[in-house]
Symmetry: D2
Subunit: 98 residues, 4 copies
């Protein structure tokens, strides 16, 4: 059950400079070895449901160590029997734009 999950996570008790906290989450995603795409509003992670949710949990638990309020949003897209969609979803739209 391969999914793409877009993760956005940040603390609410650390002022407006969020990049140190976002970097901690992105670093955890990178170390997972899963395919990912880091964007301006979130990080897309592709993998088996359980693998991806494990990474999401690790990101949350890491921030919860020193953040007293956290906002997280996760958007998941699942298509049966399909992988490599971080690239193919974009390619599929782009060929219809030209």
């Amino acid at each position: 059950m391969s999914v793409i999950a877009e993760l956005s996570i940040f603390p609410l008790d650390k002022g407006v400079s969020l990049s140190p906290y976002v970097a901690r989450a992105v670093s955890i995603v990178q170390q997972s070895g899963l395919s990912h795409d880091f964007g301006p509003m979130g990080t897309c992670i592709e993998g088996e449901w359980d693998e991806v949710m494990q990474v999401v949990s690790s990101c949350f638990k890491d921030l919860a160590q020193d953040c007293s309020r956290i906002s997280m949003s996760l958007k998941v897209d699942y298509v049966q029997d399909r992988t490599g969609r971080l690239q193919s979803k974009i390619a599929s739209v782009q060929e219809k734009l030209t």
Copy 2:
């Protein structure tokens, strides 16, 4: 680490009548025994992070049995050392409205 998570999940391959699938997810949330609030755009679930994520996984895996494409969104709010927030968050806003 108690959180509130708002879950919205539905298939994309079953036409526009989504309520049978939403009902399956809501039923799983009900059977979990966790505090929850079922609304027009999602179901809010309150509990420990691991408990809540377990329920979210159960909902996803249930729908993935017979749905070939699924969209899910999850929005999480965590406040350290606080529980009972399904009620208290609403009360806190309402007392400022009157």
Copy 3:
């Protein structure tokens, strides 16, 4: 084009007590006269697309007067030729639960 939009909006530069700011947004929704449902993770607003987006803009612009960083999320569900869905969506799921 009647829609339900779930609005969640809060500042990131005002610490962790968000209810005064949420109350300002909820108050603007109330004054709009549109059908709405205030929940633990957001406020669902039902109305014509342009009406609803006008209210969303008013909420954003109100908070932007004194907040230097704002996070907003909006989730919209549109069904052609259907209104009164704040109630009917819930009823439709509930009849499948019993």
Copy 4:
């Protein structure tokens, strides 16, 4: 009031091949002339609040012409007096990763 808004929009009544509809929305974003970043789970648009909301409305109204059910999600990040954040947000996190 410059914002980044991540837009995700798709029909629920057209089966699981969504790229033709996503391409229509992305095309409207491109024609707006606003800075944007097209990703696997949504398109980030940067501009003044009113400009961005105008583009979002155009995307919705375009799809509503022939789609009977539409799901849309919008995630907005506003920072006072800051522009060019589609690039600077990513750069700010990346310099903390190295």
